[in-house]
């Protein structure tokens, strides 16, 4: 698993996480949930650029703050970030303002992924008319989502409209009028910009997830010039390192346009190296507060849907959510519980479970809560949810309630 260590950045004191397939970070307001999510997203992006372009020349902290709209007050001389995957080792140390970006084994194990950060401000794309004409002077995480959204919605014309959960409404994009349209149950249409805040928040998220777990993989990836050049270099490096003794012959042979003999294993690795980089193999989603503006039942259905989508047997999609909703947490718990008991339940009963589409192995899920700058996992030994501060907060609310209940009804 990839790991991330963060120290002394914003409200974060000391956090070290091993990133699982599904990751949930819970915490109160301004506790650092989004800071962690943004740092992970940024490290994934730097990893991709370092591998596919061959280099990353920007100032790590400066570019991070600019892209994710964070103040430099977030950083100090003791700030520290370290990200490790099987392809890169990224390290930033505030004390020396140094950054170290290293490829592991030349990055040969890297598998190209589509990474998307879905910010809390995602309803921006629903509320702004004529989005195509909207111009921004900078490229931050909101604008980046605008670009992603513009790419995504082109794939949902009226004849490929998207049914939104169980909400009796479908979405499509009218390219001629540059309008996001909702088709209601009564066949009337409204613009997404006039829809409820919940729909404005949830639709861009759902449609993006739908596209990036299905439609995206039917399209051809267009590489940049840098990516093509880097690909060629990597392929050649691979060939050169096959056999040091043969290297000179290989170089000579290539320059004379001679055929190169590779063993079956070498050839398979060569092809895998190319294919792993050229196309997207899976998607990595980071979503801030998916529960925004949503009724509890819709929050529940949303989780079942998201887990269903990332649980694709053919692709190793990954999901990270930041949340402060107990409904999100307990819906996830249902999906893990369902996985544990699925072989013991009668089929008829299992089929009736609302969470059935989203069953997930608890071993694939990591749930953390942040408290006063530190992070801890809240799962019991079997992976199900243990004590957490939604329960503690509920107790605090109920303590107030009980002190008043003595006087109620008199």
């Amino acid at each position: 698993m990839n790991t991330i260590t963060i120290r002394n950045i914003g409200p974060i004191t000391n956090v070290k996480l091993e990133l699982n397939k599904v990751n949930i970070i819970m915490g109160p307001q301004s506790s650092g949930k989004s800071t962690i999510a943004k740092i992970i997203s940024y490290c994934q992006w730097v990893e991709k650029r370092l591998i596919l372009d061959g280099d990353y020349k920007d100032d790590f902290a400066e570019r991070f703050m600019e892209f994710h709209r964070l103040s430099d007050a977030y950083f100090n001389e003791n700030s520290f970030i370290e990200y490790r995957s099987n392809s890169v080792h990224i390290k930033y140390e505030g004390i020396s303002h140094s950054q170290a970006l290293k490829k592991i084994k030349g990055g040969v194990e890297y598998v190209n992924s589509k990474n998307i950060y879905i910010p809390a401000e995602r309803n921006f794309v629903s509320a702004i008319r004529n989005l195509r004409k909207y111009k921004s002077t900078g490229n931050d995480n909101i604008m980046n989502f605008v670009y992603d959204w513009s790419e995504v919605r082109d794939n949902y014309p009226i004849n490929s409209k998207y049914p939104v959960l169980d909400l009796k409404v479908s979405y499509y994009y009218n390219q001629d009028s540059d309008t996001d349209v909702l088709l209601l149950d009564n066949q009337k249409e409204i613009s997404l910009g006039f829809a409820s805040s919940g729909l404005q928040s949830v639709i861009p998220m759902l449609v993006a997830v739908d596209y990036m777990t299905s439609g995206l993989y039917k399209t051809k990836v267009v590489e940049s010039v840098d990516e093509k050049e880097q690909m060629a270099k990597v392929m050649l490096d691979y060939i050169y390192q096959l056999d040091e003794k043969r290297k000179d012959d290989i170089v000579k042979g290539l320059s004379e346009n001679k055929k190169l003999k590779l063993s079956k294993v070498e050839l398979e690795k060569f092809i895998a190296l190319y294919e792993n980089r050229k196309d997207y193999h899976h998607s990595q989603f980071i979503i801030e507060e998916p529960e925004q503006n949503l009724f509890p039942e819709t929050q529940r259905d949303l989780i079942y849907y998201l887990l269903n989508k990332v649980n694709d047997n053919d692709r190793d999609h990954k999901l990270l959510l930041t949340t402060h909703s107990p409904y999100i947490l307990y819906a996830l718990n249902n999906c893990m519980m369902g996985y544990l008991v699925k072989d013991k339940m009668p089929e008829a009963k299992k089929d009736k479970l609302d969470c059935n589409p989203g069953l997930i192995n608890p071993e694939s899920v990591s749930i953390w809560q942040i408290k006063e700058g530190d992070i801890s996992k809240i799962q019991a030994a079997d992976g199900l949810i243990g004590k957490n501060y939604f329960d503690e907060n509920m107790k605090a609310v109920m303590d107030d309630f009980y002190s008043m209940l003595n006087y109620y009804g008199q």
Binding site: G386, D391, M394, F401, Y402, S403, L405, N406, G409
Partner: protein, 196 residues
Amino acid sequence: MIKTNIATQYSHHLINYQLSKDSIFIADYTEQTKTLAVKRGVEIFVSTPPTDIDFFSVINKAPIEIGSIIFDHTSFVYPDGNTRSQCECFIFPEASGVDSWILFAELKYSNKPLRNTSNLSKAIKQLFKTRRYYYMNGVISKSNTCYLIASLPMQAEPFANFSITPTLMQNLKIKLNVILRLKNSVEIVDDKTIDV
């Protein structure tokens, strides 16, 4: 007043009646001693809690004089002599009036949160049933604020996997003058109120 009513309806309950102006701590040794030669049951400790078992606390900071009764298998019986479903103990202010508080407590010794749903559901049934025996026989009335407390002494609060909605609690208070909570300790404020 309540003690007088108990003497009238259930005089045998007063055999183990205890009076105290201190805090009291209730523990149930039944499980712990069931294989031993000397078996123990529910016991009340005054002012100092036991050190060999987890317990339920009634903190008496007021302090007022409180009476306590431990129920056993002979406390509430069917005509055929079989024991009725009941809770562990009953506590009330010694100088009780028509609007004094009363408290019924049931302890479940389980350190398995996954069993909380069944354990606490059972405890709540036992509490309501015991309250009903006293209510139907005139020992207590609706003017006594009735605290029904289910305790899991081996677990820390809040107890996992069980919750009671505010709506239900409001209904219980309005209709029955009952306050139901899942707690390991309560604090006596005065003869009319307990902080739960």
